[in-house]
């Protein structure tokens, strides 16, 4: 429960109460949520910059970019930000990064950044209330060893503490000012006052640890004396998660398809019906076999990968299909239209890509 409200698993009666209220009229706000009328944070991408000792043991030659980490790994966080004129490079932001070395979000807990100390260069061992990672375009730090269970969840079951650590520790966040914004310090002050962040960018996310089998090996000696097979079960068989890449799109206009790479521009007839689909590579959508309890054969599990499209202007016919991998729209009458796709899987990896539609009569 956060703030007295269970946000992820809503109480059914509140749903009913809200449904009764929704029997009332509901009117949309002035622009759809997918319109990038101003700079907007789409997500935070995590990459393994340098493996630690536990990761080396796993697969030192892993070609894909892991999106799960182990103590000792150096993690790099890249903000995915876009605006009406296209993607905004991290270097164009005035960012302030912070780390919450606790199995809880600093922002949700109400912490302030004003008096936060700088995070040490040494691996962190917590818990510490927010510390500052600095003002670089991207943030990086070395994941430390998780704190002892009693510091994560005093009075609670050790198994619960282990799951908290495995699923929601630590948290990294960014408060930033876009170009022509009020500046990082002004945004930081607004965040600390919990006032409107209309001209600022705010994002915070948990750092997923994994694979869980390796996490269990790390937690055991730290005092998390639990039988992880009982609490995590088949999840221990999941291999390490990786970031998908948004590199190639298939664009269909009037029945004719073309392959377009991310960041490229494609000409479209004004007013034409356009269909844009992300084409995953063989490694992007991960499948693996898991042996379920009392099952005679392993089951193949395919990760869930969903997309969300953002457009630099309001367009007709906006329709997202196929779990968000595909977008249909009517090309505007003139000019350039930026399309951004944010991909997110069920273990928290986030990545994005984009392309430009150029509406011209020729």
């Amino acid at each position: 429960m956060i703030g007295g409200v269970n946000w992820i698993r809503p109480r059914r009666w509140t749903r009913g109460a809200a449904l009764a209220t929704l029997a009332a009229a509901c009117t949309p706000s002035s622009a759809p949520v997918w319109v990038l009328s101003q700079p907007r944070e789409l997500g935070l991408r995590l990459d393994l910059r340098a493996p630690g000792p536990y990761s080396d043991d796993l697969d030192p030659n892993d070609p894909a970019s892991p999106s799960e980490f182990l103590p000792g790994d150096t993690v790099e966080v890249t903000p995915l930000v876009a605006g009406p004129d296209g993607p905004i490079a991290p270097g164009d932001l005035q960012a302030l990064w912070f780390l919450c070395d606790d199995a809880a979000s600093c922002l949700l807990r109400g912490d302030r950044l004003e008096d936060a100390p700088a995070c040490d260069d040494e691996p962190l061992a917590g818990p510490q209330r927010p510390c500052l990672l600095g003002g670089q375009p991207t943030a990086s730090w070395i994941v430390g060893e998780p704190p002892p269970p009693m510091m994560i969840a005093p009075g609670d079951d050790v198994a619960d503490a282990a799951i908290d650590v495995a699923t929601s520790w630590p948290f990294v966040g960014m408060i930033a000012s876009p170009p022509d914004g009020p500046g990082a310090e002004a945004c930081r002050q607004a965040l600390d006052r919990r006032t409107s962040l209309e001209d600022c960018l705010l994002a915070e996310r948990s750092i997923p640890l994994g694979p869980l089998s390796a996490v269990a090996d790390v937690l055991g000696p730290l005092g998390y004396d639990v039988d992880f097979s009982e609490s995590l079960g088949p999840l221990l068989q999941r291999p390490r998660n990786h970031n998908p890449e948004v590199e190639v799109f298939n664009v269909t206009i009037a029945g004719e398809s073309t392959t377009v790479r991310s960041a490229e521009t494609i000409a479209v007839p004004p007013g034409s019906e356009v269909r844009v689909s992300w084409i995953p590579s063989a490694d992007d959508v991960e499948s693996f076999d898991i042996m379920l309890p009392e099952a005679p054969m392993p089951s193949t599990v395919t990760e869930s990968l969903g997309g969300r499209w953002y457009v630099s202007e309001e367009v007709e016919g906006y329709t997202a299909l196929d779990d968000g991998w595909t977008l249909e729209l009517v090309a505007p009458r003139r000019g350039q239209t930026h399309l951004h796709l944010l991909l997110r899987d069920d273990r928290g990896s986030e990545t994005s890509g984009w392309l430009i539609l150029e509406s011209s009569a020729s």
Partner: protein
Amino acid sequence: MADPRIVGLLIALGLAGPARAVAAAEPAACTPTTCAPVKGSLRAAGDRRPLAGATIVLIPAPPDAEPGRMKDPPPPPDDPAWLVATRTDDDGVFETEPVRHGLARVVVVAEGMLREDVIVEVGPAATKPLRLFARPDPDEPYRTEVAGPALPSAQREPTRRVLEREEIQTLPGSQGDPLRAIQNLPGAVRAPGGLGVLILRGASPAQSRVFIGGLAVPRAFHVLSLSSVIPADLIERLDFIPGNFDARYGGATGGIVELEPRTGRRDGVHGFAELDLAAASAMVEGPLLKKKGSFVVAAQRGYFDAVIAGASKVAERTTGDPNDLLLPGYYDYQALFSYPVGPGELGVRVFGAGDRLRAQRREIAGFEQDFGGSNSFDFRSGFHRLDVPFEVARRRSTTRLVPSVRLQTARRIVSGQALMRRRTDVVPAARLETEQRLSPHATLLVGTDFEVARYFAVDEQRPLDVVTAADAERREDDGVESQTGVYATTELHWGPVTLRPGARATAFTVDDQARFSVDPRALGHVDVGESWRLSAGLGRYSQMRPISDRDSIDLFEQGAALSGSSLTLPSVFGTFDPEIRFAPDDTDLSLVQALQASAGAEARFAADWTASATGFFREQQNGEPLRFQSDPIAATSSTRTGGAELLLRRRLGPKLYGWVAYTLMFSELRFTSVDRDAVPDNRPSDFDQRHNFVAVASYRLRKGWRIGGRFRVTTGFPYRPVIGSVSVRGGYLPVLGGRNTARLGTFHQLDLRVDKTWVVPRASVSAYLDIQNVYNRVNPEALLYSTDFRSEVGVIGLPIFPTLGVRVDY
């Protein structure tokens, strides 16, 4: 010899010439074999009210007339051959002097009624008594007097507003509900979601009280505040006092509403039946014991749950998708008896109300069927009260005793959590007061009141592991909560100046804990000339602050999640009525105390117009400690409210009533000390509504039509915005901004109402169409965010809402 007053009336009506009035008033000599009197009764068509003091005139019938009511009667002749006249008595009964056998024309003239002309057969046998019904004159309609004449001591407070029953029943947008009608007066904040909570001068609904017959009721509204627990038809008088109320009342730091139940009519059996889209109600009243006593019995049943369930079934058949449902249902009943005993009047009042709110899930799991059925949430509450009021009014004193006992129940079942909570209260209560005129310039009111609640509470929680079928954990609690007050007020008159100093001492107890308060209060006014009155009030008000309960249940929380989007409600919903308190916890009992001050001026001009301006201020210490759900700090806080109320009002007249009201209010929550270094910033209180403008008008047209409208413009409520979000496994969590740091958009709405009444001799039938939000504006009551909380996807408000109702009075 005819009564000269009657002769004058006849002359004025053209039924007799001045020179021949005396001669024409005397019929030819009669004998018992040639003449007979005409007897009968006269009542008002529609409600069959006896018409006293009406003039009954007999003149010869025109040629070719036939017995019965004359349609399009010709004017009476200037020079009738004979004329006999009389008046009806208090029961509407009349008997004329004997007139010659044969047809005679009866002319009925009654104030406020159309003239009636009837041809009767006067025969040698005893003429059957006539039963005459006079129809109301549309240009001068009768109306039921609700409030009695204003007594010198009635206007005790600087701000006391009275609503007439006809105003309550016909006010656009209020569906005839008395407490919802109050929301249109200055000092009452527009309630969120159009519901019926009373937020008076910025005070929480829990800080104001509604008194029925001198004793407080635990709940003034039904679930989700769809209706008041007592209908307008049972109210003799409704007084709305938004602040600075007299020492007679305690247990509230905001304002009060006094509802005085009426006695039944003694002129015959009457009643009504009414049906609209949400509820059905009926009432019967009449005389008892040779018309010395009277009774009123009434009941109401809200069937919104049936309407929603029915509509949902239709939708489910159409779409194939099961629906979750929120089903509110309610009932209330009243039985009032009164009878004169000795020098006073003894009454017996039994009334009560029940509510049920269910959230019904269409997917049923076997486990949940055992504990809550298909209802994921099932809340029931009710109260039943018995009063035996006795009042004696003598020349120099009035004494009133109201002993009472009340039974309250509340039950909540949450099947998803396998939790049941139940509480029962038995509450004896009473008020005893006497008002004595000490001298022409001084009156003393002393009295006492008390409430002692003996409560029993049960908590039962069944573990989720149904496989092992472990026993439910059960906890029982019982105890006593009480509130006892002693008060005295003196009223002193010196010419145009009236002062009412007073004080109230109250003892609050919960089990073995006790707190005491002594609240001095002073009210006064000065009459300047014939038309002006200046008034002021100052006083302290105390109320027990609810002990922190194990589970203080508000039916609305700020913020709720739906799949696909998330709903944010403004903070005002967090203290929504009803809040269900279960067994109190072992925390300290503390008092909320408020200092209130107000001053105003009122002018009466023309016949029915008044204008008033009032300034008010309220500083309330909120008791300690105060904890916030999402800010885990302990703080000492106070609420400071100030503002002004303006009212221009046309009192209920033959055709028109209405008013224009404006309230300006600032209400701020201020923190004075905390147990941490950081001091929260002061912020607008949950009920801060800066501007509130209401214009109401209702006009009676011809042929039983009435039209009315209401236009409102108010500032939006403050709310806690979402300023960002955090990405976690499985979704997003919102980052909340400071509480009440944002404000919803301006509210404005037009409501229209049309009434049509058909009057037939023994009954009247009324139909109404009440349309709220005529131009279908989506006023923001709540916000919807996208699943990642990065943007608002829409606002929620009540759409255009028509209500159709039919009522039969007899």
